[in-house]
């Protein structure tokens, strides 16, 4: 019997190994995706009765992709404005996040886009992306609690759960209380274009390969304004790289928006807490003030100008809680 501490070390080293693989795949597109030929290190990957990898469990991406798929430096606020100095690199947090201090910023990232780290937008689409970023609060469907779409739901900062039931591999997402089913059997498509896409899967050795189509073009990829049209076609590859890690790769094609197909890749990690479970995030009610606050008989926000709310930040610091006083207690 291994001691508990030895087991933890084994898991850690295997996960570090997985991270190493990510670094390899980020360094440049490896032939054949760079992961299918990888030798699985560490404890054995769970398998179903028919010998396929069993992805059932609670997983989560641990990266900054939900902020921006592309490489980016840290930003002082989720929303920024021109500061005292008129330089683009000297922007300061804007009103909606000032009161959040350092918790209102955006962490930097090396990004998850393979190759040169850039999304190959067509010139006119790049303009739309940039406008999206500049109008993030008004345009990002996430802020309105709209269905997150794929692949975005896969790397939002929430755990998600895979329930692998033979002919169906189901994924449950807390955000907006939704799910997606990957059909390994033959089914009819949806009656209308969708937010979450229509996923059809097949096994390629130990890799679950899915094709996702039938998008309605209303979703974004992240909080940076990266977007797609209804022509989006995804090819996802889920490959076990450890008992507790899946390499997740997506090839994205959308001739309306991109010059050529491009790829993102990242590991998904198993949530190892013995009591891990998905919790509700029924955000529709959370965004009612954001969406309809201006239509109240007695608005909660001080002043609305049509759909613009003016927040007067008059935060009074209570006695004893002022800067530095707090330390002296």
């Amino acid at each position: 019997m291994m001691k508990a501490s030895t087991i933890i070390v084994a898991i850690l080293s295997a996960v570090v190994g997985a991270l190493g693989m990510l670094a390899v795949s980020c360094g440049g597109p490896a032939p054949g995706g760079g992961t299918t030929s990888g030798v699985v290190a560490g404890p054995a990957v769970p398998r179903t009765a028919d010998g396929k990898p069993d992805f059932s469990g609670i997983w989560q991406a641990l990266n900054e992709a939900h902020w921006d798929l592309e490489a980016h430096e840290a930003r002082p606020g989720m929303v920024t404005q021109e500061g005292v100095y008129p330089y683009e690199y000297a922007r300061v947090p804007a009103a909606p996040v000032v009161a959040l201090g350092a918790a209102g910023g955006v962490p930097g990232s090396v990004g998850v886009v393979d190759g040169d780290g850039k999304i190959p937008y067509k010139p006119e689409a790049l303009k739309v992306k940039q406008e999206n970023g500049a109008n993030w609060i008004d345009r990002d469907p996430e802020l309105k609690c709209y269905l997150p779409g794929i692949p975005r739901a896969m790397y939002m900062p929430f755990p998600f759960q895979i329930v692998q039931g033979g002919a169906k591999v189901h994924m449950a997402f807390p955000f907006s209380s939704t799910g997606r089913t990957i059909h390994l059997d033959e089914v009819e498509g949806p009656p209308d274009y969708t937010y979450m896409g229509h996923s059809v899967g097949k096994w390629d050795g130990d890799t679950l390969v899915t094709t996702v189509t039938e998008f309605n073009g209303k979703n974004w990829f992240d909080r940076a304004g990266n977007y797609h049209s209804e022509q989006l076609k995804l090819t996802e590859r889920f490959t076990p790289i450890h008992r507790d890690a899946i390499q997740y790769e997506v090839t994205l094609e959308d001739p309306n928006v991109f010059e050529r197909p491009w790829k993102i890749s990242m590991p998904l990690y198993r949530r190892l807490e013995p009591n891990a479970q998905l919790m509700e995030y029924r955000c529709i009610e959370f965004v009612e003030e954001f969406l309809y606050g201006g239509l109240r008989k007695k608005p909660l926000v001080k002043r609305w100008e049509n759909e613009t709310f003016i927040i007067d930040i008059t935060r009074k610091v209570p006695e004893g809680e002022k800067l530095y006083e707090w330390y002296r207690r």
Binding site: T48, A49, D50, D54, S56, C145, Y146, L147, Q161, V163, Q164, G165, G166, A167, K168, H170, A172, F173, S176, S177, T178, G179, R180, T181, H183, D185, E186, V187, E188, G189, P190, P191, D192, Y193, T194, Y195, M196, K218, N275, Q277, L278, M279, E280, R282, I284, E285, E288, L291, Y292, L295, R296, K297, K298
Partner: protein, 415 residues
Amino acid sequence: MSRRFLLSSGLAVALVAAAGLLTVTTPRVFGQAPPGEAPAGPAPKTPWGAPDLQGIWTNSHDIPLQRPLKYADKEFFTDEERQALDKQRGAIVSEDTRRYGKGSEQDVGGAYSTNIFLSHKPTGRRTSLIIDPKNGRMPPLTPEAQKRRNEIREYQLALLRATETCKNNRPGCAGGKYGPPSPRRNEAPPHYIATGGAGGGSINRSDGPEDRTLGERCIAATLPDFGGAAGFYPQIIQSKDTISIFYDTGQGQGWQRIIPITNRPHLPSNVRQWWGDSRARWEGDTLIVDVTNFTAKTDFQGSRENLHLVEKFRRKDANTLEYTVTIEDPTTWMQPWTVTQELTKQEDKFNRVYKEPRCHEGNHGMPALLIGARVEEKAFAQRKGPDPATLCSAGCGGFAGGFADEGEEANPFIQ
């Protein structure tokens, strides 16, 4: 793009509803699986030996939750009674020319008509979904729950007092009377506004989104859910230690449920959720799910944070999933009560589940309701319109769910 014409989910729902309606009006041979239902056979097992609950399921019959009083202690309808009820219900819901006086407030409810938006199914064998108590009816409320309900009703009636609904003594005003606008319009409601029915439901005010029903806010999905005229397709997918149920319900109000099969304790009691906290175990061929930790915002027939469910899922055969739930809340009912329902498996190929709870994404109704209320207030302030307190936008009666609120066109199940 052949599918582009289906731009609104409303249209898609309309087509589903139309297909559903056919089952009411088309004579059907009992025992013969209608198109879309899966073939018969023994109950299957998963490769790891557990009962296999997987598939897309639906209720193939309409059965009232509570037994209509006129059937007293009669547990099952005869085939003749079912046919007569189908004829009577079909005649009401398929009539598309019914109007409650054009331009009346009651006429508005009929706009959400069965012919376009809803579907009704053939009458089932049981006279009620409730099998315990034996009379097929919910047990009496506790004095505490009755007090809650009365407080909500008094508040509802205060807000209806100056409307035509009360002036004309319509069923929506039952228990109240016509009078001048109530100052209670400026008070918060005595309890959180939740779904309709015994819990309270709509109030005649649109000061903000919270005044409207959970349905209008696109958060109506509740547990337990026995389906209804707005569609019901739960899809079950299972692994060794987890059951996933995606409830395609209430026209775009669907939701994802995860049921862990575990002996772990429930969440700490201070953690509350709309759909509670589920823990399951197998007992023979039956999956038993214990659900607690509901939030006070939830409302199942008047029960809120103390709701406790013990659900049982059992696959009787290839085609049939038996769902039985015992509902308990000592602060709401004098005794626990039990409901049972048989769900029919749908062909997997047709994939009749819509994993797109997109009511919220297309909720133009909510801003329209609020803007309308602000416009009415402004018009009144400028002496160009009536006092908003005299207008009715909720609880006004009329056709709801395809049936009238009184008379010969009321739902025969609750007449």
